[in-house]
């Protein structure tokens, strides 16, 4: 019918996102791009094409992170400056780690990681305390502690990276190659993910639960350090000498972080669910709706990254083991984890399941994930035996 008129308002649709950016946003963009350009100008000659791609790819990611999540900006700046300070203090001499005051007590990787551990434990205590005392101030302290802990952990990893090269250029590698290093990664990523949701929902009530799982990983880290001297930097076995490691492992830990967070919120959900609606405790703890929501978001984020990580793992396997899929125990358990959360998401998104069963499922999911992460290395033998205890 000619009476039908369809108008496409393309021009007006362009009241675009970039118009909504503030001056600080633009400054942030300029800073990130300037940083990348400086890096390229100074080290470009030493980079291979893969590293250039990584550098270029980092720019939009860091930019977008800073725009979407404002708190990421000071965090990034602090981590960058302190990491550079530490690297500068080291110079070309690893021994300064023991002689320089700042390195020895603050910024050498091992000190930074110990600070991270202490701060995470303190943050956990502060979150619980603020929950019991209903103290807004303690809550703010807890948030600050968590930010500091995540910063120290990140700095520790950056500096450890450099330290490995100071040991010997052929020993140098990104610190995601063994169980010790990935536990730091786990604590930092899970901490940051929690902080994101805390900012997003303006609620600290989830902190006590989220930080508890981080403290558990810190406890393991400390045991591993003092009992097994696992913090020593070891050279890479041939199978791990690949650029795939740099992307496969961190991606995976976004997945693990999301699943761990979801499980802790699942526990919180089950607790709140038992409380009488309107009781004093129910008022302090997050609402069921919020928990359900964040639980879903954490699993969705974790699942998306876990999918990418598993695909990257398959591509790496195709280069290292001679096939993209070998039904190796680690691969198989990654598939099991993936299927588990795929089923979880289907139940929620298409069957509309909510609430208690999903909370229980998220908690069970953490056990499945933990087995894939740790159990496989401890109890089953296979190709992927890098992270043995």
């Amino acid at each position: 019918m000619s009476a039908t008129t369809e108008i496409v308002q393309e021009k007006l649709a362009k009241a675009a996102w970039w118009k909504r950016l503030s001056g600080v946003d633009w400054a942030w963009g300029a800073l990130v791009i300037a940083g990348a350009l400086y890096t390229y100008a100074r080290y470009g000659a030493l980079m291979d094409s893969f590293e250039v791609i990584i550098l270029v790819g980092t720019v939009p990611v860091v930019l977008a992170l800073g725009w979407m999540w404002k708190a990421m900006r000071p965090y990034t700046v602090v981590v960058t400056l302190l990491s550079l300070a530490s690297i500068g203090l080291y110079g070309a001499d690893l021994a300064r780690g023991d002689s320089n005051f700042f390195l020895k007590y603050l910024l050498s990787s091992q000190s930074a990681i110990m600070w991270m551990s202490a701060l995470f434990v303190m943050a956990t205590a502060a979150y619980w305390l603020s929950l019991f005392m209903r103290s807004e101030f303690t809550g703010r302290v807890a948030t600050a502690l968590t930010w500091c802990a995540s910063a120290m952990g990140f700095i520790g990893m950056m500096v450890r990276w450099r330290e490995s090269y100071l040991i010997s250029p052929d020993v140098g590698h990104i610190p995601v190659s063994n169980l010790y290093e990935v536990f730091i990664l786990f604590a930092v990523i899970t901490g940051l993910m929690y902080l994101y949701y805390e900012g997003r929902y303006r609620s600290r009530a989830m902190g006590a639960f989220a930080l508890t799982v981080i403290s558990a990983s810190v406890a393991f880290l400390l045991w591993y350090t003092f009992e097994r001297q696992a913090h020593e930097i070891q050279p890479l076995v041939p199978a791990l000498q690949s650029y795939w490691m740099k992307i496969h492992v961190p991606t995976n830990f976004v997945g693990y972080g999301g699943f761990a967070l979801a499980a802790m919120l699942g526990i919180a959900y089950l607790i709140v669910d038992r409380l009488k609606p309107g009781s004093a405790w129910a008022a302090r703890l997050p609402t069921l709706g919020q928990l359900d929501d964040v639980m879903y978001k954490a699993i969705a984020l974790g699942f998306a990254f876990f999918t990418v990580a598993t695909v990257l793992g398959a591509m790496w396997a195709a280069e290292a083991w001679g096939g993209y899929w070998s039904w190796d125990p680690k691969e198989t358990w990654a598939l099991i984890v993936w299927l588990n959360y795929a089923a979880w998401l289907h139940m929620r998104l298409t069957k509309g399941w909510r609430g208690r069963p999903m909370a229980w499922w998220a908690i069970i999911g953490l056990f499945v994930t933990s087995f894939a992460f740790l159990g496989v290395n401890m109890f089953l033998s296979g190709l992927h035996s890098y992270g043995t205890l």
């Binding site: 041939p238 709706g289 990418v308």
Partner: protein, 678 residues
């Protein structure tokens, strides 16, 4: 996998069997059941170690359960027919789900549903109504512009009595659904192309037979051989330095198949680089590919993580082993240490025949290692690595077929500053080695130990020594018969200890001495042995000319303690020979994995779709809103409603924001109602 679609109450017509079957195959319940079933099956495959030698399974489960598990295909779960059926069902279920939902999804993405009735808009959870100033066309125009400014795609339709403005955003969310589910199908298809289904079919049809005998490649019969044009396979081959191969072995259950290659692979050299600390740094093979289609042979070096891809065949550095190193060995007869040792020569994987006083033995040379780098825990708990040097592993098999495995190190091992010859032994594979340490003399040779052993086994000599000592041992007034008796029993004890070690002495004690007195008996036996063998040792030192004025030196005394311990342990060493490696010529072999996987690119395509789809699905929300603008008197009445396919709370707040913007843009004249249906 339907459900999330906005298909309101479509009437259900009567359906035939085909439709019911389709509904079942595409149902969410089947899909979830399959996900769980595949997970459980996958877990079984990781808990029960796959593709182990069948005798190991028999030992573990016993003959009955071995048989049951074999029937169920539990030793190769991921290749078992029932597992493939499960995967196939998941493939079909996903495909049916896509087939059923894709048209709706695509329609949802494209169609703005401009003919929506006000009545149905009033049924939405999120809706609002207000009066606007101006003509309907003006109001609709302003609303459309405002909606577009919020990032919505907008369509407008004039129905005469009212104008419908429809907006849509994040429709790629639906694309996400399609991509993820099609991706699963694509990945499965790619995997199927690279899988071993054709082999299974050929085996079922009897065209292929799995070879279970341990025979070299040249003897594999044609019914166990696959031609060079196989589409997909994954096999491995071990090539010694200087050797070549134009085939790989495919492991199938408890046997193998021989896969021919259209080219020959030659191994020039295999190298292991080490870090200064001793850990391996790289494994590399220098290869030459001889391909009739190449003008000249292709020379390439491969390493772990750096395979060679030649015409779609990928060649990987998978492992390494000995390639038949030539060894020179010296075998000392432990029962007759004074005769000249036997000089032997052989290569790894060869068997040598040796005649010993305990009957003929077969010496099977199993492995040679040039380096043995082990972590050694130092006192501060830091890991250090020590290289123990070259070693040889061999089995000594007697005529009855019983074998004991030995691991002997070529270089002396230093413990607390003293040197030892180290030999490990075990009777069953898999158990840890037990080590024998034999002290070495100042020349780092076995001579002194063997000479002492010869004395201990020389009964006449022992008798003389015992006789010389006996007077001191006898109580005063003993008669000659008692003396002879005592000498006999001590000589017997020394002989027992010399031939059978401490084990034989303990057996004797257990037979002859009541339990209460055993402890004491053993202690006195040990004292006697120390005394007799000590005096033999002193004689030997005197002959060697190393016995100084002050008697036995500290080092020599330590040697004696160690030698006694070694004698004590020799009884359970199980070998009449002490085998020393004297020289070697190292030949390495590289274990290559060679694969052809034409489905790989398809799988990767599926992976890319999956990754993109997952992000579209989670991070794009398909939201659609409608404004129905109808003329009321001078102005217009706006009915605004919307729906989002994710996250009701988030959409509710977005809807509220939109409503504010739109009502402002349309110049709301009050009389506002907002509804959120419960």
């Amino acid at each position: 996998m339907a459900g999330s679609l906005n298909t309101p109450n479509s009437p259900r017509p009567r359906r035939g069997t085909g439709a019911v079957l389709l509904e079942f195959l595409g149902s969410m319940n089947l899909a979830i059941t399959l996900l769980v079933a595949i997970s459980v099956a996958a877990i079984i495959g990781t808990v029960l170690q796959q593709a182990q030698p069948y005798p190991d399974y028999v030992r573990k489960f016993g003959p009955f359960w071995f048989e049951v598990f074999e029937r169920l295909g539990l030793y190769d779960v991921y290749g078992a027919a029932w597992f493939l059926v499960l995967l196939g069902l998941l493939l079909v279920s996903t495909a049916v789900c896509v087939y059923r939902n894709a048209p709706t999804m695509l329609r949802d993405m494209r169609q703005f549903r401009l003919d929506v009735q006000e009545k149905s808009l009033r049924g939405f959870h999120q809706r609002a109504e207000w009066d606007a100033a101006g003509e309907t066309a003006q109001v609709a125009g302003r609303a459309g512009a405002a909606l577009a400014a919020q990032g919505y795609r907008v369509r407008v339709k004039d129905h005469g009595d009212r104008i419908v403005v429809a907006g849509m955003r994040g429709s790629w969310n639906r694309l996400g659904y399609l991509l993820t589910h099609v991706a699963i199908v694509v990945i499965c298809v790619g995997g199927l192309i690279d899988g071993n289904l054709p082999l299974k079919v050929a085996e079922r049809l009897g065209r292929l037979q799995v070879e279970t005998r341990d025979i070299p490649a040249s003897q594999v019969p044609p019914e166990s051989t696959l031609p060079a044009d196989s589409a997909a396979f994954r096999g491995s081959v071990r090539i010694p330095e200087g050797g070549q191969a134009d085939f790989v072995f495919l492991n199938v259950r408890d046997g193998f198949l021989l896969q021919k290659l259209p080219f020959r692979v030659e191994l020039i050299d295999f190298r292991i680089d080490h870090y200064p600390s001793g850990q391996p740094k790289s494994f590399e093979s220098d290869l030459v590919i001889h391909d009739p289609e190449l003008d000249e042979p292709l020379k390439r070096t491969i390493a772990v993580n750096h395979p060679l891809i030649h015409k779609g065949y990928a060649i990987y550095q998978a492992s390494f082993s000995d390639g038949g190193s030539r060894l020179k060995l010296r075998a000392h007869a432990l029962d007759a240490p004074d005769i000249a040792p036997l000089e032997l020569e052989g290569a790894v994987y060869q068997n040598l025949k040796v005649v010993t006083p305990r009957g003929p033995l077969t010496m099977e040379l199993i492995d040679f290692k040039a380096y043995n780098v082990f972590p050694a825990d130092t006192e501060d708990g830091r890991e250090k690595f020590t290289n123990y040097g070259p070693s040889v592993v061999f089995k000594l098999r007697n005529e009855a077929g019983e074998a004991i495995e030995y691991l002997n190190y070529m270089a002396p091992v230093s413990l607390d500053g003293r040197l030892y010859f180290m030999s490990g032994m075990r009777a069953t594979p898999g158990e840890p080695y037990r080590y024998l340490y034999i002290p070495l003399d100042s020349q780092a040779s076995l001579d002194r130990f063997l000479a002492l052993r010869a004395s201990v086994l020389d009964e006449a000599r022992v008798r003389r020594t015992v006789a010389a000592q006996a007077d001191g041992l006898m109580p005063a007034g003993s008669d000659g018969a008692a003396r002879a008796n005592l000498i006999d029993s001590i000589v017997h004890l020394v002989g027992l200890f010399g031939r059978g070690g401490m084990g034989a002495v303990m057996d004797q004690v257990e037979q002859a001495v009541p339990e209460a007195e055993r402890q004491q008996a053993v202690e006195s036996y040990i004292m006697v042995l120390q005394s007799v063998i000590g005096s033999l040792y002193v004689d030997q030192l005197r002959e060697e000319g190393v016995l100084g004025e002050q008697g036995v030196g500290e080092a020599d005394a330590k040697f004696f303690e160690d030698a006694l311990e070694a004698f004590a342990a020799l009884g359970s060493y199980g070998s009449p020979l002490l085998v020393q490696m004297t020289d070697f010529q190292h030949v390495e072999a590289s274990g290559l994995q060679i694969t052809r996987a034409p489905g790989k690119d398809i799988v990767y395509l599926g992976c890319v779709m999956l990754m993109a789809g997952v992000f579209f699905m989670f991070y794009l929300h398909h939201r659609r809103v409608w404004l129905s603008v109808a003329a009321v008197g001078q102005g217009a009445r706006v009915l605004f409603a919307g729906t989002g396919n994710r996250d009701r709370a988030e959409f509710a707040s977005e809807f509220e924001g939109l409503q504010r913007v739109l009502s402002k843009a349309t110049g709301a004249a009050g009389n506002m109602t907002q509804q959120e249906a419960k």
